[in-house]
């Protein structure tokens, strides 16, 4: 399926909505299939690749940090970038710049770039399909 292009627009922040997990599942499938993927992270979604996300222990679960292995969206994104590349595709993650500024989310993982709504439009114009997963 190499050569196929998909664009996603996401809005939800990390750790708050199952919609984000669903979006990640879809992006992961596309990465495994070697698609060229563009993600435009809008509003709270710019927190998904925030570099300072940290794992923690969970006393309720009775587990220390390593055993708990708390999921971190930034790690998911980094892994999907690697996976896409491994399969001949790419994952271009664009954080909405103004959304980053108002959240102080400038420290993103490597490979994330700053952009603006026209980048979403540009990607959508050259893509096979576009999926918007907005906040409800």
């Amino acid at each position: 399926m190499a050569g196929k292009k998909l664009t996603f627009a996401l809005m939800d922040s990390a750790f708050e909505s199952a919609r984000t997990t669903t979006a990640m599942r879809l992006i992961d499938i596309a990465a495994r299939r070697g698609y060229d993927i563009t993600v435009f992270a809008y509003e709270g979604a710019v927190m998904l690749p925030f570099a300072k996300q940290e794992q923690h222990a969970n006393k309720v679960h009775g587990r220390e940090v390593e055993e708990e292995n708390h999921p971190l969206p930034r790690k998911f994104i980094a892994s999907m970038m690697t996976e896409a590349k491994k399969n001949g595709g790419s994952l271009d993650w664009i954080n909405c710049g103004l959304c980053v500024d108002e959240r102080g989310a400038g420290e993103a993982i490597e490979g994330v770039r700053r952009g603006a709504p026209p980048d979403f439009w540009k990607a959508a114009e050259t893509t096979d399909n576009t999926l918007v997963i907005a906040t409800r």
């Binding site: 627009a9 809005m11 809008y42 509003e43 603006a116 709504p117 026209p118 979403f120 439009w121 540009k122 959508a124 114009e125 576009t130 918007v132 907005a134 906040t135 409800r136």
Partner: protein, 126 residues
């Protein structure tokens, strides 16, 4: 490419963002040459109500001096050449009269939405 932005979730972050995020996004993309239209449905039909006023909010000494002005934002979109459709039944169900709304809207019945969608290359439900 022609795209339709459907706005249904209303007043999502409008106080903090000073606008509706998808109306703003539409302004920004239109400014970059995008061929976009908007469909207001559900509670978002209220964005077209002329007399809404979100001013006056304050927390302690901190005042929100620039409240969202959604009807004005929609009017400016129309002024830029963005067609703004509004679902007739959603307007009527909320007790709104045509005279309550800004000018330039394109009413569409619910049953007419599939035909409307067919006129676009992309339909994005925000």
């Amino acid at each position: 490419m022609k795209a339709l932005n459907i706005i249904e979730t209303a007043y999502r972050a409008t106080i903090e963002e000073q606008d509706d995020t998808v109306v703003w996004l539409t302004h920004a993309m239109k400014g970059a040459g995008a061929d976009l239209s908007v469909l207001l449905r559900g509670n978002a039909v209220n964005y077209a109500v002329k007399t809404q006023d979100a001013s006056g909010l304050s927390f302690g000494d901190t005042k929100q001096t620039q409240p969202p002005r959604l009807a004005e934002d929609i009017t400016r979109l129309i002024g830029k050449g963005v067609e703004v459709y509004i679902v007739e039944e959603d307007v009527a169900e909320r007790g709104l009269e045509r005279t309550d709304l800004i000018d330039g809207l394109k009413p569409v019945p619910r049953a007419g939405m599939p035909k409307l969608f067919a006129g676009f290359d992309r339909v994005w439900h925000w």
